[in-house]
């Protein structure tokens, strides 16, 4: 029986709090003993506190840029190429509610035009102090259907900008997709 004892990781025990009487995992149902309680140093009242304080102390959270870096990282993981990340993050610093709009815009474009390539950039008018985000959509075949779906996607996103101070345009520069 001793060979069947599973020592579950401490953190997992702490986060999910498995008491033996409630452990109805497949291993438990097979009659394998979950040994978390048998560990002498397992004590939920102290472990998380020491984990937080000693291993991973809380950080100085009031930064604004690191939240935007995390957001841009997520956007990149969604398959979007961010052309000028510093300019985009600077814009988002001033218009943080555009993060929500960008997320929806990416979803909307992908719904209408699956398989296209997306590029997020900041447009700066060279003559006047005007900046806004642009989500460029690129594809291998720029036909009438593409234009129509792009227009519908843009219409859907523009509705989200009603009470926002920032702006995003969804368009294509008709460049070749490499």
């Amino acid at each position: 029986m001793e060979n069947n004892v599973i020592r579950t990781p401490l953190l997992e025990n702490q986060l999910f709090n498995f008491p033996e009487e409630k452990s109805k995992t497949s291993e438990a149902r097979k009659g394998i003993k979950i040994a978390s309680r048998s560990l002498p140093f397992y004590d939920s009242s102290t472990y998380m506190q020491s984990f937080q304080r000693q291993i991973w102390p809380s950080s100085t959270k009031s930064t604004l840029t690191d939240k935007i870096y995390s957001f841009i990282s997520n956007v990149i993981q969604m398959g979007v190429h961010v052309e000028e990340d510093k300019k985009v993050s600077n814009y988002l610093l001033n218009f943080p509610d555009m993060q929500w709009v960008i997320n929806i815009a990416i979803e909307v474009v992908k719904r209408y035009l699956p398989g296209v390539k997306l590029f997020l950039d900041l447009y700066q008018d060279p003559e006047i102090e005007d900046k806004f985000l642009v989500l460029y959509v690129r594809t291998t075949n720029y036909n009438r259907d593409f234009i129509e779906k792009l227009r519908k996607a843009e219409e859907e996103v523009i509705k989200l900008l009603v009470d926002k101070q920032g702006w995003i345009q969804i368009t294509s520069d008709f460049r070749e997709v490499r």
């Binding site: 009242s45 009031s62 930064t63 610093l93």
Partner: protein
Amino acid sequence: MKKKYKNSPIEEAVCEFRFTSNSWDLTVPGLLYEMIKEEFPIKEQRTIQEFGFGQVQGSIQQHVRNTELILFFSEDRKMTVQLGPGLLAVNVFKPYPTWSVFRQKIEKAWNSLCSLIKIDRIQRIGLRYINNIDIPDSRDELGNYFRLYPFIPSEFRQNIISFNTTVIFSYFEGRDQCRVQFLRSPNSTDSKTKIILDIDYFLAKEPVDPSEVFTWIEEAHDNIESIFEASITEHLRKMF
């Protein structure tokens, strides 16, 4: 940082106070605004969500808390004061305005708040610098630019998407700690590696007497500066 760089990599610096006060009420943000509005005239309200774990009757439970913050921005939006229940933070953004200017903004915000409410206890102070450094040639060895970086065996280097190395240092017999994060931004490309050097110095053990706050901040800044200077090579220093 005392050493002045023409092209400083500091993307953001923040000084954050977490405190308890029995005299806090909803009029405080408006009163503080009156005192700092010449330097921070733009007001914005934001809601932040904080996630945490707490213990309820012996079991660990996850909780989400919404906190309303008021942000006061400078005219050019390159500096901000954040205020909420138990929280005051002063942020400066690129281009970094020098330590003496940043310190003066911290003093102004903190002293103004202290004239409005009685701070019962300072729970935490943090001084954090986020540096964003572009390495022009991603094939270059990190060791040419940094003295603090993860060692990656050469056979794995082609496969790197990202890395994140964290070191925590202790100061003044554990009173303070400094967390140094060295990470590669996922937005790095084949031609450019983007490195974030994040130095977060904070009060780990209470208390600091409110009268000693600025001594603490000055020491924190000196230690951050030492870590930064020790983390980079002369080659990188010349690029700033």
